[in-house]
Symmetry: C2
Subunit: 264 residues, 2 copies
Amino acid sequence: MCPPCFLMQLQQNTRTRAPEGRGGGVAKTAPRARPDMHHSSVFDLTHTLTADFPSYNGTRDLEIDTMKNFAEHGVNVKRWTVREHVGTHIDAPLHFSADGISCDLIPADDLVVPLVVIDIALRAQDKASTAVTPDDIAAFEARHGPIPEGCCVAMHSGWGRHVRTAKYRNADEEGRMHFPGWHVECAHALLERKVTGLGVDTLSIDMGPTETFETHYAWLPAGRWAIEGLANLDQLPATGSTIVLGAPKIAGATGGPTRVFALV
Amino acid sequence: MCPPCFLMQLQQNTRTRAPEGRGGGVAKTAPRARPDMHHSSVFDLTHTLTADFPSYNGTRDLEIDTMKNFAEHGVNVKRWTVREHVGTHIDAPLHFSADGISCDLIPADDLVVPLVVIDIALRAQDKASTAVTPDDIAAFEARHGPIPEGCCVAMHSGWGRHVRTAKYRNADEEGRMHFPGWHVECAHALLERKVTGLGVDTLSIDMGPTETFETHYAWLPAGRWAIEGLANLDQLPATGSTIVLGAPKIAGATGGPTRVFALV
């Protein structure tokens, strides 16, 4: 680290200001001391959400109503009716637990974290119902070094490119979906590594055909978040970027549509 | 700039990768070349949004319905019915124009920008219906240097601390509100400086008593965004931080609840 960088980090790590002060009305906690973030470009990992965006259950999960229009009222205002788990969206611990924290209670520090991308796109081309396995994690770490504590690990399966086709849900004649996900053993392995978030470019952190949602049940009740439906993972390096989750701060939310950026 | 920083910037400024690739399904544009972002702490500028959050019109602008609950379904899922302009939220150009761009079309590069904070909190303590004026901009620039192109300029009036009291709307007996905002002449001055975003810790970029919304009409149709209802501005330095707007990427949105961070 160069001297100016080191000095800046030193100053900032000794900062004691609260992130939520008089204006916030919530508990004061000091920002986490963290290594410098050092970036110069912004990538958008968010799909545009439309009323017909493919949803996990095949339902229409967003309706948009016009409340005021410019010609008549001099202003445009709309109203959304939206299920929380549609589009590029976060799952809060509460989504798959009785008493996990809701989305608004996830600390800001846990929503801006290093991003690691594990690429299984080549394998997923030939086999939709494949999973990221502990072997993939081992191979990744052999090449890129240990997955750091406190990061987000995202599966890049190439599925983001299918978002506007039937391949995104890839449902068979019985309605069972086929797309890649995280093997539950990876959830356990990444909990051991104290990873903060799990990401996918598919509809679910569990593989499409699951009936048990075992990765969800292993991951979220452990106080971790997941981010599903990521876009543009093919544009990112395997390590070195920071993911920023603009997760909704709606009281009691179990998750919700989220604007996601990668700072590279 | 130290040699490693310079080298990293050089590498990144010559990057030609597209921010929205095969996975995005939207137009490819290269990330903007920008100076290094160099930060080590995260501040949350977002108020928690509840169904009874004070709204501009005094209406109830959010309803939350439980769709599935853990005891019965093994999963928690809710549905929101939400007007776009409630809580800490962005105004897209479309909000106050016939044909401005909607929220989903604001480039990611314009949602991660340097933040400048102009503090009028002392004056606003004694006079609620005060405005940031060109004199405030001149005084700020005399002390901190020119306001840079492409940044967000936020008014810190101290109003964020009133969010859970009647003072936030500060309505008189006739229902007219009294809180600080931006004088329209500032909108013109900041357009000349090619500023990207205008921020406030109140309900509106216009002063509370306005009937003409002249700051909205000067600013948004010029292709700029505004961010209203910011929290915790009292925690930030006047310059040197980066604001990140997790603006909803909902097709056609005129704005919407937004998770906002400052990287310091």
